[in-house]
């Protein structure tokens, strides 16, 4: 006997491809009975499976067969949307004395239950498809190329969670050879988050090319997102522009985990956090302000989302920002890609195989000496 899932898939195709063969296969299932038959009858209750319900109604050979499946047919008949199937079921039931007895009432109830479960399963499949779409949207949003910037080594990566969180990062080629760096996290999960993320990316990319003042840019992005999204959705966003000639990093931090700058001197390693700017975007109409940070050769900048800093292990402990910084300190002098890989690996090693609820996103910039 085949596992029921394969049998269902097989019959779905076979009912179109070779109806006679489909009928033969179903009759085998009917004769062997048991849980695989019940499972199959439950699976075919969704509207799209009219063809299989018709196959079942058509296949019944004897009065006994018909009486056996009558409870299912009666339940299907009430909600049937396919004309051929409706006729086929009516054809079977017309020939039966379908007056309810205590025994058939119970069978009826069971049939109703399997039908309900089948519909629920069809619904879940739809949700899964939505997740796939969300993941696709997200993947398309990540930068497809990295503009080259003299004296800067950088890279970024996002490891999406199973349910697609709303992480986002981007590198933008700005006028006068500058580089735009964005990282953010959209509230919620799934399609809704992915769409807001798409909106965010479009707004930011649209504004970044024309705006000189980052605070003004963030004001506009905020009001665009505010107008376009539902009131309970918001996003954190850190946006910076790096000028390779002056090594000046201008930035606005709208409620995002502050990126960390590590500066190694002979004696110690200084840590700076880029936390000023304003609250999260998309929630309130407010104004942002811009900050500036003078980078020096050798500086290492680590941008991350809470999926990294809050990655959990099996005992529900968080990895934490401190561990992240400690890990980054050990990477001094390594290429950005290597630093990124090591931090990602450390966070994953900490979580040790526990499935993460949130996307993990990391971007690393290194000012070359």
């Amino acid at each position: 006997m085949q596992p029921p899932e394969n049998l269902y898939e097989k019959l779905r195709h076979l009912a179109v491809e070779d109806p006679r063969e489909a009928r033969r296969v179903f009759l085998q299932l009917l004769d062997s009975g048991g849980p695989s038959l019940d499972d199959f009858l439950g699976r075919i209750a969704s509207p799209a499976n009219g063809r299989l319900r018709q196959l079942v109604a058509n296949a019944l050979r004897s009065h006994r067969d018909k009486e056996r499946l009558a409870p299912h047919l009666i339940v299907w008949q009430e909600i049937e949307t396919d004309e051929f199937t409706r006729r086929a079921i009516a054809g079977v039931l017309d020939g039966l004395d379908a007056r309810p007895t205590a025994q058939t009432a119970l069978a009826h109830e069971v049939a109703r239950l399997t039908t309900a479960i089948g519909r629920e399963m069809a619904q879940r499949e739809r949700v899964n498809r939505e997740l796939e779409i969300a993941r696709e949207v997200q993947e398309r949003l990540f930068p497809q190329r990295r503009p080259s910037v003299p004296g800067l080594d950088y890279c970024g990566r996002c490891r999406p969670a199973r349910e697609v969180g709303g992480d986002y990062y981007d590198f933008l080629e700005l006028p006068e050879g500058k580089l735009g760096i964005a990282i953010g996290d959209v509230s919620g999960k799934g399609i809704g988050a992915a769409l807001l993320m798409a909106n965010l990316e479009a707004s930011l990319r649209g504004q970044a090319l024309v705006a000189h003042d980052l605070a003004e840019l963030m004001n506009r992005v905020n009001s665009l997102i505010l107008d376009a999204s539902s009131p309970n959705r918001y996003a954190t966003l850190f946006y910076a522009a790096y000028d390779p000639r002056s090594r000046q990093l201008s930035y606005v931090n709208a409620g995002h985990n502050p990126p960390v700058i590590l500066r190694k001197s002979d004696l110690a390693c200084a840590v700076f956090r880029l936390e000023n700017g304003g609250p999260v975007i998309g929630l309130l109409r407010q104004r942002y302000h811009q900050e500036s940070f003078a980078l020096e050769p050798g500086d290492l900048i680590v941008l991350f989302t809470d999926g990294i800093s809050e990655s959990m292990n099996a005992r529900d402990e968080e990895w934490g920002e401190e561990r992240l910084i400690e890990c980054a300190k050990t990477c001094h002098g390594l290429p950005a890609f290597e630093v990124m890989t090591r931090i990602m690996a450390a966070a994953e090693a900490f979580a040790a195989g526990v499935s993460q609820h949130d996307d993990m996103t990391l971007a690393v910039l290194r000012v070359l000496e």
Binding site: P19, T81, E83, R87, G91
Partner: protein
Amino acid sequence: MWFIEKVEISGGFLPGLSVNLPRGLTCIIGARGSGKSTLAEAIRFAISGASAAPKHCVDLINANLAGGALVTITALAEGSNHYTIKRALKQQPILLTSDGRTITNVDLDRGTFLPLDAYSSTEIEAIADEVLGQTRRNLLDELRSEQMRNIHLSLAESARGLDANADRIRTAQRAIQDLTEQTEELGDVRARLQALGPSDRESAADFVQLSRQQQLNQREITKLDAAERDFRTLGQALDQVRVAAKLAFKARLAEEQSANADVVRRYEDRLAASLGKVEKNISAISEQIREAQDVVVQARQSITPAHASHASELARLNALNEAASEQARVRATLEQQVAKLQSIEEHRLELNTELKTLLEQRKSLKTSHILMRDKISTLREEVASELQREAGDRVRIRIMRNADHLAYQEMLVEGLKGARVRNHDEIITTLMQLRPEQLAQLIQANDAASFEELTAFGNERSRKILDSFRETVDPLALEVTAIEDRIGIELNVSAAGQPNFKDASDLSRGQKCTALLPILLARRDSPLIIDQPEDNLDNHFIYETVVNAVQRLKTRRQMIFITHNANIPVLAEADLVLVMNSDGRVGVVEKWGTVDQCREQIIDLLEGGREAFELRSKRYATA
């Protein structure tokens, strides 16, 4: 999301009309012939052009905008962009931005730039009345237009594949039938040969072998001919590709007037630059084909001498036979015949294998084609359940799969005519439990036993019916016969207790509109113009279905209603009421304002005006 902000008309039946429209609900009221429909149709005409409206609406516009009347619409889109549309009869529309620049690369009539939903009373009735047919399906399909178009494109492509496959199957079947008839005498000939007794000559074996070779030689020539033909067709097809490639790669992408013309032209040049490479590749393939043709010619040349020597050898043996005894001559002829028939038999087996492959291919083509069609119904079900959520309990939208089946049923009736059986109606009822692909399989396999199991017609009747179908119905066409869904739009007409749902086609004029309105309202976010049919309606219908939906959705989209029922402006709180009047020569907006400002006119002009105001004040009092 966009809004109509202002409508101006110069000349025609509504000269000097100028109204600012609010974002929510506008109700246009007035006596018959006061210009209400003209105003609604003028807006539709300016925004979507004459082709968007049915004939009677175009007639109205042609009559009432005659003499060069210009309709000007100011629209607000994407939050802050203003557009102005100016259109007069038989003239190209002009689309302007707020700073007065003209936009030339937008075709308003396509309905994608500023999409508008407008329904005249006749259109609403037509949707309600057309139980079968495309109108109701379009209502749903438009909401998934992108996906639907993709499915239809794939369907068209797979239909082409199925057609080509069917042609090849038919050719093979004809050829096999032909050959079968020819080989039928093989048994006879063999028997006669046996009856002749043993041969007295040693050369008999040579002779048989040569006769056989003669047949094989003929088939060799046929195959070479076919190869020659195939390469010639391939060459011609390639020539067509060459022309098509030239067109595609030298395409003009730039819109000459556009500000981006220069940018686009650079890419045009890049495309054109690769044409050379493409042509070189095509030429290389051309060259290969020519070489292949040479190869075929060489093959032909190199077997010609062998064929010639076989022929002369056979002639020699034939001459020997002539000289031999009567019996030997007969034997020679029969042996030659057997050899020929055997070779035909082999050919037939080859064709059978080919036919089997073709039928296998068809199976998967057919399956994906039919499953693709199922996907359309599934999409419609999704749309229907979305609309159902918005439409409320009074109205029911249902997808009845495969219920638009009249054409299929007629085909069955036609196919049954030749069968000498009684009770056709009963037979058709049973046959309609089988899908086209099921029936096609039984016809193709000539499987009377399964046919009888499925239908319980009895052995003899099953045989007769199946034979009749085999005569008249082409199973290859039958198995992919499309049967469409029927869209049920129903209204619960019972005032209380057990619901009693009736299809829109069975309802009164006003009820039809009531059943459809929640669906038309919920469809999308673009502005909506409704010209409500005049009818006496139960107020609780209007209230439960229309008023609730309008009130809920007027924040989502702009609505312009021509109405005859006071409940809509009064209870759904119209943001603007336009009262129209006419002296028979021209129409004017006599008064405009809020519901309260137009109270007197609403009570005078509309059915149930006073009651509506009473109900409204009661609701305010309790609120």
